[in-house]
C-alpha cells in the first residue's frame, strides 16, 4: 500500500506509452483534444498547488505559461543547430532529448519569473496578491508583444512539432505525481497549514513565506513546461493566446474541480477541455455557459465537483 504512488506513476507512464504507440490509429481531431486535455491537466494541477493547497490566489498562470512557451520555442527556432550538434545530430532520440531540454529550459525560465515575482508579492494577501499576479501576467504579455525578435504582436510561427501524445501525458502524470506526493507528506501538510491559518502556522514553526514561494515557483515551473508543450504542438504562438482570459480558464478548472483536490481538478480539466470542443458551435455563448456553470456549482457544491475525497471515504466506511 505504501508504494502505491510510485506504482501508479509507473502504470501511468506505461499506459501513456502504449496509447501513444497506437496514436496513429486515433483520429486527428480526437488526438488534438487529447493533447489539449493533457496540457490543461498540467496547468490546472500546478495552479491548484498555489490556489488550492496553499490558498494564495494567483491570476497569472497564463503569464508563466507564456514565458515557458516563448523561451522554449525561441530556443528551438534560434538555437537548435548548436544544441542538436552537441547531441550528435538530428535523429529521433536526439530530437526527443532536445525537446525535453527545451521544456525544462522553459519551465526553469518560468520558475525564475515565479521566484522574482513571488518573493516580494507573496507578502501580500488575498485580493492584493491576485491583482499583482494579474498585473504580472499582463506585463509578460505586453513585453512579448513589443519584442520584435520573437515576432511581436504577430506572434512566433514555424515552431517544430515535437509534442506527442506520450510526452503530454507522461508530463501530466509526473505533474500529478509530484504535486500529489508532495502535499501528502508531513512536509506538504505545511502548505495546507499556510492556507488555513498563517499566524498559527508561523507560530508552529512553519516558515509561511518559504512555503508560499516553493508553491509559487513549482507552479510556475509546470506552467512553463505546459507552455512549451503547447507551443511545440500548435506550432504558432501569439502573446494574445496567453492573455488574462487564459488565466481565468485555468482558475475556473481549479474552482470547478475543488480547491485543493488533485483528483477533482484533473477531472475538471478533462471535462472543461472537452466541453470547450462540444461548444464549438455555440462559441459566442461559451463564456456565458461557463459562468452559469460556475454560479450553479458555487451554490450547490461550494467545495467543488469532487471536493475532498478523504471525508467521503470516511463517511462511507462509517455508514457501512
Amino acid at each position: 500500500m505504501r508504494r502505491y504512488p510510485q506504482i501508479a506513476l509507473v502504470i501511468g507512464l506505461v499506459a501513456s506509452a502504449v496509447v501513444s504507440f497506437f496514436s496513429d490509429a486515433i483520429d486527428g481531431y480526437a488526438l488534438n483534444i487529447l493533447i489539449l486535455v493533457g496540457i490543461n491537466i498540467i496547468l490546472a494541477v500546478s495552479l491548484n498547488l498555489v490556489n488550492g493547497h496553499t490558498g494564495q490566489f494567483s491570476l497569472g498562470h497564463a503569464g508563466f505559461m507564456a514565458v515557458g512557451a516563448y523561451v522554449s520555442s525561441s530556443l528551438s527556432l534560434f538555437a537548435s543547430e548548436p544544441i542538436l550538434k552537441l547531441l550528435g545530430g538530428s535523429g529521433p532520440v536526439a530530437n526527443n532529448v532536445f525537446f525535453i531540454f527545451l521544456l525544462i529550459a522553459g519551465g526553469v525560465a518560468a520558475a525564475i519569473c515565479g521566484l522574482l515575482v513571488g518573493i516580494p508579492s507573496l507578502r501580500l494577501k488575498g485580493d492584493y496578491l491576485a491583482i499583482v499576479t494579474l498585473g504580472f501576467g499582463e506585463i509578460i504579455r505586453v513585453v512579448f508583444q513589443n519584442t520584435e525578435s520573437v515576432g511581436g504582436a504577430r506572434g512566433l510561427g514555424g515552431i517544430p512539432q515535437f509534442t506527442t501524445l506520450f510526452w503530454t501525458f507522461a508530463i501530466a502524470i509526473v505533474t500529478i505525481y509530484v504535486i500529489g506526493c508532495m502535499v501528502n507528506s508531513t512536509y506538504g501538510r505545511g502548505f495546507l497549514a499556510v492556507r488555513d491559518d498563517e499566524l498559527a502556522a508561523e507560530a508552529m514553526g512553519i516558515n509561511t513565506l518559504r512555503y508560499k514561494v516553493v508553491a509559487f515557483v513549482l507552479g510556475a515551473f509546470f506552467a512553463g513546461i505546459a507552455g512549451g508543450l503547447y507551443a511545440h504542438y500548435i506550432q504558432f504562438i501569439t502573446p494574445e493566446g496567453f492573455n488574462f482570459l487564459k488565466s481565468i480558464d485555468i482558475v475556473v478548472m481549479v474552482i470547478l474541480g475543488g480547491m485543493g483536490s488533485t483528483v477533482g481538478v484533473t477531472v475538471a480539466a478533462i471535462g472543461l477541455t472537452y466541453a470547450n470542443e462540444l461548444l464549438r458551435d455555440a462559441e459566442q455563448y461559451r463564456m456565458i455557459i461557463f459562468a452559469l456553470l460556475l454560479i450553479v456549482l458555487m451554490i450547490l457544491r461550494p467545495q467543488g465537483l469532487i471536493g475532498d475525497l478523504k471525508w467521503l471515504r470516511k463517511r462511507k466506511k462509517k455508514t457501512a
Partner: protein
Amino acid sequence: MSAPLLEFDAVTVQFGGLKAVSDLTLGIADRELVGLIGPNGAGKTTVFNLISGVYTPTAGSMRYQGKPLKASRPSKIAGFGIARTFQNIRLFKSLSVFDNVRCACNLHLRHGISHALVRGGAFWKEEGEIEREAMKLLDIFELGEKRDEPCGSLSYGDQRRLEIVRALATRPRLLLLDEPAAGMNPTEKANLMTLIRFVHDEFQLAILLVEHDMKVVMGICQRIVVLDYGQKIAEGTPTEVRANPKVIEAYLGKEVS
C-alpha cells in the same frame, strides 16, 4: 535558582503615543509555571506577541537561554523551543486532528521535498516516527480515537486540548498559553487546571500563562506577575499577590477613605 530561561530587560513597546508595555523586567526560570495577569488592556497579549516574535521591542532587550531573543520570523522563534496557543482557537480548520499535530512536527523534519517525492525508506521511517510521536501525544490527551475527524467537529474543550497538543508537538521548552480557560464552564476549568499541571510535570517545560480567571491562575501558578497599563505592579506567590494592595486597586479601584 539557575539562570532564567527567558529574561525581559526593561522592555518597552510603543504604538504611536501608547506604551503597551513599558520598562518591563521579567524572568522565567526553566520548568517554572508563571501566571501573567492584569485588567483588560494591561499588555498581557503584547508580552506574548513580543516573545513569539510578532512584535519587536521599541527599547530594552529579551534573552532566551542566555542569548538575545531576536528572529527574522515568528517561525524561527518556534524553532528555539517556544510554542504558543491562541486566545481565540486557531486550529487548521480543514485538516484532521492528526494532521493538525503533524503540521507542528514539520519543525523537526530532517527531510524535505525530495524525500517526499522519492518516497524511499528514509521517508517512510521518518513519517512513521512522526506518526508515532503525534499519536502518543494525542493518546495522552485522549484525542487518539478522533485522529481522523476534522478538527472543527471537536467540542470546544477538545479543540483547546488539541491546540495544546499541537504546541507540544513542536517540542517546546517554554509554552505560552493565552487565556486557555476563556469560555469554559467550571467543570472544564477544573479539568484544564489538572491538564496544565500535568503538562508542566510530564513534559518538563516552563509555562507562561495569561488568564483572567483568578481561580485558575491562583490554583496552579507558582509565581504570578501582575501588569497594569503596561507596567509590572506586583510579582510574587499567589498568596502575596492576592494580599497586595496595588493589585486590589488595579482590579477593584481605590477604597474611599
